[in-house]
Structures are given as structure tokens and as C-alpha cells.
């Protein structure tokens, strides 16, 4: 039906169409030591996306907001996946690290976010203290922050 030349042509066109369904390769380079970009482009977005005082000022608040969202998310997983207290604390540490926080126990927002996560996970307020990690902080002021977050 097709000549050899036509067949090669068709195969190439079909290949192109299939490739067109492919997706984007990461530009963020966070997970790999090898990358798509091998030039100054890698730094461009870092410098430009937040240039200017307004952008930078917002960045602190944005980081804090994302941190709280992430702590709430990991708290939902703590409840639903029945993680151990140590695992949960390590996960909070990992999130804190990603957002530039070394000592998450000193951040009130950590405990507010935990409270929000507990509510989202459907934990009854009276049962919070039954969860091992929260039992361990039940007598501290951080627990009040958890409850405040729960009620927010």
C-alpha cells in the first residue's frame, strides 16, 4: 500500500504525534542532580520571580502559610495512616526544614496548624488527647494552641 519512503514518513509523523502527548520535564531540579537546564537559566527564576521588595515581603508570609498547610496535611496523615509519634515528629521536622524552620516547637503556628489538621481528619476534640503525640504535650501551652487551631 505504501512505498518504503512513504512508510518511513508516516512512522515519523505518528512518532511526532505521540511525542506531542508527553508532558513537561521538571525545571525545578530539586530532586535530581542532573537537569534539563545547564545554564544561568536555573538561577533566573530564583532571582526574578521574587525580585522587588513587595515580592520578598510576601514571600515570608507565603512561606509561613504553606508551612501551616503542610503541617496540617501531615497531621491528617498522622491520624489516617496511624503513624508513630516519632515518625510524625520527623515528618514535621522535614516540613519545617523545607520552609526554613529549624525549631518547629518554638513556632506557635506549628501547633495551630496541627489543630486544623486534626479537625480536618475528623478527630473529636475530646479524643485529641488520646493520640500519643498530643498526649505528650497535653500539659504544655502548645496544647492550647492545638485546640485554638482546631477551633479556627
Amino acid at each position: 500500500m505504501f512505498s518504503k519512503k512513504q512508510y518511513i514518513y508516516l512512522v515519523l509523523l505518528v512518532s511526532c504525534s505521540i511525542v506531542q502527548a508527553g508532558c513537561s520535564v521538571s525545571y525545578s531540579l530539586e530532586k535530581s542532580s542532573d537537569s534539563v537546564s545547564t545554564s544561568l537559566d536555573s538561577l533566573t527564576s530564583i532571582s526574578t520571580s521574587s525580585s522587588g521588595g513587595g515580592g520578598e515581603e510576601a514571600k515570608i508570609q507565603e512561606t509561613s502559610t504553606l508551612y501551616e498547610e503542610d503541617v496540617a496535611a501531615v497531621t491528617v496523615l498522622y491520624v489516617s495512616r496511624e503513624k508513630t509519634t516519632d515518625e510524625y515528629q520527623r515528618q514535621v521536622s522535614a516540613i519545617a526544614r523545607n520552609h526554613g524552620i529549624g525549631d518547629w516547637e518554638q513556632e506557635q503556628s506549628t501547633f495551630l496548624a496541627m489543630g486544623k489538621g486534626l479537625r480536618r481528619a475528623g478527630v473529636n476534640e475530646n479524643s485529641i488527647v488520646n493520640l500519643p503525640f498530643f498526649r505528650s504535650i497535653a500539659k504544655s501551652s502548645n496544647y492550647s494552641s492545638v485546640i485554638t487551631g482546631y477551633k479556627m
Binding site: 515519523l12 509523523l13 511526532c16 511525542v19 506531542q20 502527548a21 508527553g22 508532558c23 513537561s24 521538571s26 525545571y27 525545578s28 530532586k31 535530581s32 542532580s33 542532573d34 537537569s35 534539563v36 537546564s37 545547564t38 545554564s39 544561568l40 537559566d41 536555573s42 538561577l43 533566573t44 527564576s45 530564583i46 532571582s47 526574578t48 520571580s49 525580585s51 522587588g52 521588595g53 515580592g55 520578598e56 514571600k59 515570608i60 507565603e62 512561606t63 509561613s64 502559610t65 498547610e69 496535611a73 501531615v74 496523615l77 516519632d86 515528629q89 520527623r90 515528618q91 521536622s93 516540613i95 526544614r97 526554613g100 529549624g102 525549631d103 516547637e105 518554638q106 513556632e107 480536618r120
Partner: protein, 613 residues
């Protein structure tokens, strides 16, 4: 650059995070929208186009990583727009789905949970890899174990500032705290080692407890910071002012409190945190003493590195970027001294930006390598803790090593199953809709919440532009907007200012275009075909011929460049093929220094969105 900043400011003003604000205000019944994005194709990384979901100022999308994983990624909208639309010159279509605030919030929370679950999986895989390596080292008698943040401390130098901190801790905590803590820490290391007898594995606790022990030793041995621990003061940075010194003293005192709290904490990984905060405390003391701002070096061992080309070093791009990063560092310094609510976040941002600026200032014709911190992260430089006794028998270690090898392979296989890429069944379109659907317990509730429903396996929705078209239909998406790719946007401006024919003749090809400079990454081509549908097959044929000619040249150059030119030519031919049948992938792309003055003002994005998320 100025225009770009104006654009970003515009975006900040008009796309403020109303989503979160409304949520915090409890406006449960208000309507907001989530946006479906379609980003058209370009050569190189994204020949098939791309899809994403914008929730407020945040974009969630799936990306393929060079280690063959395919992962959910969260990015700020302005960074996403800059990369895809500005640098990669791709048009973005946006269609909004108005939703009840509670549904929109539920979706955002769900995507965040998916991200957290994914991160947990890879964190535990990394933990497993580290444990495997540790056991293998112990097996061959290597008793040197890496501990995070220990690397900032010198083996020899005594600290002039640590005795004050130690005295403060001893005054604040019960008498004999240090002696008791050191005894317990040593005991805990031995207990952690004994776990291998019962559980067959050391787990993360062993290294964590070693971290606590090492942190306490820093105090007892009065070890100072290593001279390489700092990002040194840069010529462009001013001396600390009196106000800054006063604020820095307050920050030093808050770090001191943090260290006391951490010493009493029961969190398992407190050792590394004590080491980091102590190193920061000492860095602040050094800053105060020298009246120059010094921060810890946050670069880590396997940080991403790039080697700059001659063109990048000698051209204006490097200077532009150096200036930008210095400016960013100065801004973050000012913000740190102003920040009251989140000083630690502000300090981490400052540490990162100083490191980036300093790294780029070191570049010259002999030093071409730069390390790139893609995101803000805590300094972690590992140091070596030496085990005094092996604690663990060879037999136990052997068993543990085998156990870990099996478990590691099992988890790697799981990673492939859970986070692998498949062109048809698991790509950016299918996973986006799968993730959206999994927000809801079932299809009925999903339809109620979203006003429609899409199945990831249905028809050809794995093709990004068909996915977008179907989403517009199935969800009755509204307010469709279009952000033109950078070259097309600037071309329109030229058409308004000059004679159409002249502009077309000049800008339609890569040789005379004033809006585009050929880049290797774009593959060799002569004509842009993204703005000329009818002529596309003819121009495509010329591009194909040009690619073939370049192929012949490349073949001749194989002995000189190892086939790089030839390979690029082949890719050029490949990207010309769709043009023969009225298709288009390649559009050209841009790089750093070219941002100046080319950002159009025609972007229709956020201003006309009914309710901005």
C-alpha cells in the same frame, strides 16, 4: 527587567491569595474559582504540551524528573508563569471553574495532602538508603558516621562565644544538667544500637541519638565554628548599623532560648537541630563582633551544579544576574531586621540569598562552576562522628544488611509503581484529573462539588490539549483567558508600531529576528511556524532542509564535538516534521539576560478573573 518587575507586581496585586483570605474569614458560601491551565508545546522538555491546576496563587502540576519519577509539584504562580511563558516562550490557556469556597478549599487541602504523602514516601526511601549505607560502612569496620550540621564545627578551634552560652544553659537548667545529659546520650546510643538485636535494623534513631551526643560534646569541648562555615562578608554589603546590631542581639538571644528548649525537647531528631541553632548562634556572635553580617554556608554535598559557558561569562547575562541576586540579598537583609512574626523564616531566606549572591560573584574565567540552591533550605553540612566502640556484632550487621537490601529494592519497585511515568496511563493530564477526582469519596459527590466529572482513562484525554478541551466542556469552564507566548506577544507590539510586511519579513526567521536569538537548546531552524498556519508546511520543509544541511555539517564535525552538532540537527529535523502537516512544536526559547524590555503588557491574566483565588 524593569518591565518584568512591573508585570510581577501587577500579578501580585491582582492575584492576591483571596482564596485563603476568604477561607480565614469564614466566607464559606462565597464563590471562588480554580483554574485549569493548558501550556502549549515547545521543543526540548515539553513536546506534548502541559497541563496544570491553579489554586489561588499556587500551581499544582505533575512533572517528569530526570530520575524517571513523575511527581506532583507545587509552585508559586509567578514563578510558573515566568518559566513557562517568559523563558520557555509557551502560550498558556486558562479556564476557570467557579466553585463553592468550601469545595475549593477541600481541593487545595487534598492536593497538599497528596504532596505530603509523596514527600513522606521519598523521605523514607532516602532514610532507607542512608541506613543501608551506614550498615555497609559498619560492616567493613568504618566507624565514622555522618551527623547533620556537625560539619560547621571545627575539630581544633575553641570558641570565644560558646562559654557564655554554656554558662547561660547551666544557670537556666537544673544543676548537673550537662553531666546527666551526656550520660543519658551515651546510654541512648547504645540502646539504639541494641535495637538491631530485636528488630534486625537500626532505624533512624541510631544516627539521631548520635547527633544528640555530638551536640552535647560541642559544649563540653567548647568547639568553635570552622572558618569555612560562613558565607563571608561581600564587598557590596554594608557594615551593620547600630539598629541592626541591636536587632541582631535580640535574634541571638532568641536563638539562645531555642537551644535551651531543644536541649530539653523529646523530639527524636533534636541533635541536628541543636547543632544548627548553636552554629547559627555563633555565626551571629561573629557578625556582632566583626560588625559584618555573616551567615552559615547552606550549600550541601550533592547540590545541583552548573558550569557556565564562555558566552554566559563574557556576555551581559552574568552581570545582570549578579546584580539581581545582590539586590535580593540586600532586600532580604532589610526584611529580616523588620520581621517580627517569623524571624526564623526571614533568617533562612537571608542565609540562602547571601549564599546565592556570593556563589555567583565568585564566577570568573577560571572558576566556572556554580552551585545552585533551588529553594530555601536549612544549612545541614554534615560532620563525622566517630563511634568509640562498634557496639554491634558482625553477624547482626550482615543480617541487617541483607534485610535492608531486600526492603530497599521492594520500596524502589513501589516507587516505580506509584510514581512512574507512562505516556498514556500516567502523565500530566491523567494524574491531574485522578488527583482532582480523589478529593471526593465518590463520583456523585464529585459531580455535586465540581459540576461535572472526567475520567482519567476516557478517550484521548492523556493528550494535554484534548484534556483541556474536554475539561472546558465537561466542567462548563468559564472566563477562558489566553496568555500569549513571549515572542508572539512582542511580535504583536511590533506589528502595531511598524509596517506589517516589514515586520513579518524580518521576524519570521531566526537570522534577522530582533525578538529572538538562536539557542542550542532550540535546535537549528530557520523559520518560526507558530504564527503562520497556512505557510507552515512550506516553512516546515525549509526548516527540514536546513536541519538536514546542519546534519551534514554536524557529521563532518563529529571528530571535533563528539556528535553534538549532528545530534542537534537530527532533533531539529524531528521538530520540523509536524510542521509538514500543519502542526507546530518548536517556538524558540529565551534566557536570562534577554528578559530586558521584552515583556509585553498585553497579558490578560488575573485582572479580569471574577474572583481571584
Amino acid at each position: 527587567m524593569y518591565h518584568l518587575l512591573r508585570l510581577l507586581l501587577f500579578l501580585c496585586l491582582f492575584s492576591s491569595p483571596g482564596f485563603l483570605l476568604a477561607s480565614e474569614l469564614g466566607e464559606e458560601n462565597s464563590t471562588v474559582s480554580i483554574d485549569f491551565l493548558y501550556i502549549n508545546a515547545n521543543a526540548g522538555e515539553a513536546a506534548g504540551g502541559h497541563t496544570a491546576l491553579r489554586l489561588g496563587d499556587t500551581v499544582f502540576h505533575y512533572q517528569f524528573f530526570p530520575d524517571s519519577t513523575f511527581l506532583l509539584v507545587r509552585e508559586p504562580w509567578d514563578a510558573f508563569l515566568f518559566l513557562y511563558n517568559e523563558l520557555h516562550n509557551r502560550s498558556i490557556s486558562i479556564a476557570s471553574l467557579p466553585l463553592n469556597l468550601s469545595v475549593a478549599t477541600q481541593i487545595r487541602y487534598h492536593f497538599t495532602e497528596l504532596l505530603a504523602e509523596q514527600d513522606q514516601f521519598f523521605d523514607s526511601l532516602e532514610q532507607l538508603r542512608q541506613e543501608k549505607r551506614l550498615v555497609q560502612d559498619l560492616l567493613v569496620g568504618d566507624l565514622e558516621i555522618p551527623v547533620n550540621a556537625l560539619g560547621f564545627f571545627s575539630e581544633k578551634l575553641q570558641s570565644p562565644y560558646l562559654p557564655d552560652l554554656t554558662a547561660y544553659i547551666e544557670e537556666t537548667l537544673p544543676t548537673g544538667f550537662f553531666q546527666e545529659a551526656v550520660r543519658k546520650a551515651e546510654e541512648n546510643v547504645q540502646r539504639a544500637a541494641a535495637v538491631i538485636d530485636t528488630e534486625g535494623r537500626l532505624g533512624p534513631a541510631f544516627q539521631e541519638r548520635l547527633g544528640v551526643r555530638e551536640a552535647l560534646r560541642i559544649f563540653s569541648e567548647n568547639r568553635g565554628l570552622d572558618s569555612s562555615a560562613f558565607i563571608p562578608s561581600m564587598q557590596e554589603e554594608r557594615r551593620l548599623t547600630a539598629t541592626e546590631k541591636s536587632l541582631l542581639k535580640s535574634f541571638r538571644d532568641s536563638l539562645r532560648e531555642t537551644i535551651v528548649e531543644l536541649l530539653c525537647s523529646r523530639r527524636p531528631d533534636r541533635g541536628a537541630a541543636i547543632l544548627l541553632q548553636t552554629a547559627r548562634y555563633l555565626a551571629v556572635c561573629h557578625s556582632l563582633s566583626s560588625e559584618r553580617l555573616l551567615t552559615l554556608d547552606p550549600f550541601f554535598e550533592d547540590v545541583h551544579k552548573v558550569w557556565l559557558s564562555d558566552e554566559e561569562i563574557s556576555g551581559g547575562r552574568l552581570a545582570v544576574l549578579q546584580e539581581d541576586l545582590l539586590e535580593q540579598s540586600a532586600t532580604r537583609r532589610d526584611l529580616f531586621f523588620k520581621e517580627e512574626r517569623h524571624p526564623e523564616i526571614a533568617y533562612s531566606l537571608l542565609e540562602t540569598s547571601r549564599a546565592r549572591a556570593w556563589e555567583l560573584l565568585r564566577v570568573n574565567t577560571t572558576e566556572r562552576k556554580i552551585r545552585i540552591l533551588t529553594k530555601t533550605t536549612l544549612p545541614t553540612r554534615p560532620g563525622i562522628a566517630v563511634l568509640d566502640t562498634p557496639h554491634i556484632s558482625q553477624e547482626r550487621l550482615q543480617n541487617s544488611s541483607q534485610l535492608l537490601a531486600v526492603e530497599f529494592e521492594k520500596q524502589k519497585k513501589r516507587a516505580e509503581d506509584l510514581y512512574g511515568y507512562n505516556l498514556i496511563n500516567r502523565n500530566c493530564a491523567t494524574e491531574l484529573i485522578r488527583s482532582l477526582n480523589s478529593t471526593f469519596p465518590d463520583e456523585k459527590l464529585g459531580r455535586d462539588g465540581l459540576g461535572g466529572w472526567m475520567e482519567p482513562e476516557s478517550g484521548l484525554i492523556f493528550i494535554p490539549f484534548l484534556f483541556y478541551e474536554q475539561a472546558v466542556r465537561d466542567f462548563s469552564l468559564q472566563d477562558e483567558q489566553f496568555i500569549q507566548a513571549r515572542r508572539l506577544r512582542n511580535l504583536e507590539t511590533l506589528y502595531e508600531q511598524e509596517d506589517d510586511l516589514l515586520v513579518w519579513l524580518r521576524e519570521s526567521n531566526t537570522l534577522s529576528s530582533t525578538l529572538y536569538q538562536p539557542r542550542n537548546k532550540d535546535t537549528p531552524f530557520l523559520f518560526f511556524t507558530d504564527d503562520s498556519l497556512l505557510l507552515r508546511p512550506i516553512l516546515g520543509l525549509m526548516n527540514l532542509t536546513y536541519g538536514a544541511v546542519q546534519g551534514v555539517v554536524g557529521l563532518a564535525r563529529v571528530p571535533l564535538d563528539g556528535g553534538e552538532h549532528f545530534n542537534q540537527a537530527l532533533r531539529g529535523i524531528f521538530y520540523s516534521l509536524p510542521e509538514l502537516t500543519f502542526g507546530n512544536i518548536r517556538k524558540g526559547s529565551y534566557s536570562t539576560g534577554e528578559s530586558e524590555g521584552t515583556t509585553g503588557q498585553k497579558i490578560t491574566t488575573p485582572g479580569n478573573r471574577s474572583t481571584s483565588l
